[in-house]
Symmetry: C2
Subunit: 142 residues, 2 copies
């Protein structure tokens, strides 16, 4: 199987397959006479594994660990679970951060007339004059 065929079979772009090789995640089974990379079913399976991990937000570093655990038939499932739990915690921390941003922004946007007038509590807050903790919108001049 060429790199193009492996790409189609796995859903991973040829560019990325070469990159994963560079950082030692996967290697082609062999090179053909004309120096083309040759892949088999195992490699394609590995690529799909990587793709699924990436879609779950694992970094390539975590991916490397999980890939090693996957190939180690003697692994302890606790090791895998630990990687997963730590990743979950990381995701939840980022979600909480972004949710806080959304909350603040929604409050500001709610208080902003969004019309043709220049008064804008969003800008006031960004400029540090705002009072983001205030539940109510400041009265606007008419």
């Amino acid at each position: 199987m060429n790199i193009g065929e492996a790409s189609k079979a796995s859903g991973v772009s040829a560019k990325m397959i070469r990159y994963y090789e560079e950082i030692r995640l996967i290697r082609p089974k062999a090179r053909s006479d004309n120096n083309y990379r040759i892949y088999g079913e195992d490699e394609v399976h590995g690529l799909r594994f990587i793709k699924r991990e990436r879609s779950l937000g694992f970094s390539l570093e975590e991916t490397e660990r999980l890939l090693a655990l996957w190939q180690d038939k003697e692994r302890e499932s606790g090791a895998v679970k630990q990687v997963a739990l730590s990743h979950i915690a990381d995701l939840e921390r980022r979600i909480a951060e972004m949710s806080a941003m959304v909350k603040t922004l929604k409050h500001l946007a709610h208080c902003c007339g969004g019309d043709k007038r220049p008064d804008c509590p969003i800008l006031e807050d960004l400029a540090g004059q705002g009072d983001a903790a205030d539940e109510d919108c400041k009265p606007r001049r008419r």
Copy 2:
């Protein structure tokens, strides 16, 4: 004010102040005889504005737009609100993506013994043999 003093006053690193200058977000008021950048209160205010925007997750591109609107006293608040709303939508999309990841991972982790045995539904899912839609955990051999 030197770049170091402006950095302390604004909370933005000197490195970043220079970078913001390079991409034309802010400029020092002047250069001193010895070619040092000189900042005034206005510039520090601008830096704090940028910092607050970044902390709310705006990209530097959005930051540039909001900064221009901030400085434009004739702006229409609707323009600002639109940037904010679009950013909120973006954040919410990313939160939803990550929440879906967390949900899947939690299910998998819940089903994983996390012990010394090698059986691991997390790896099975990653390998594409799993059944992530299944609400229940598969029975494990004892």
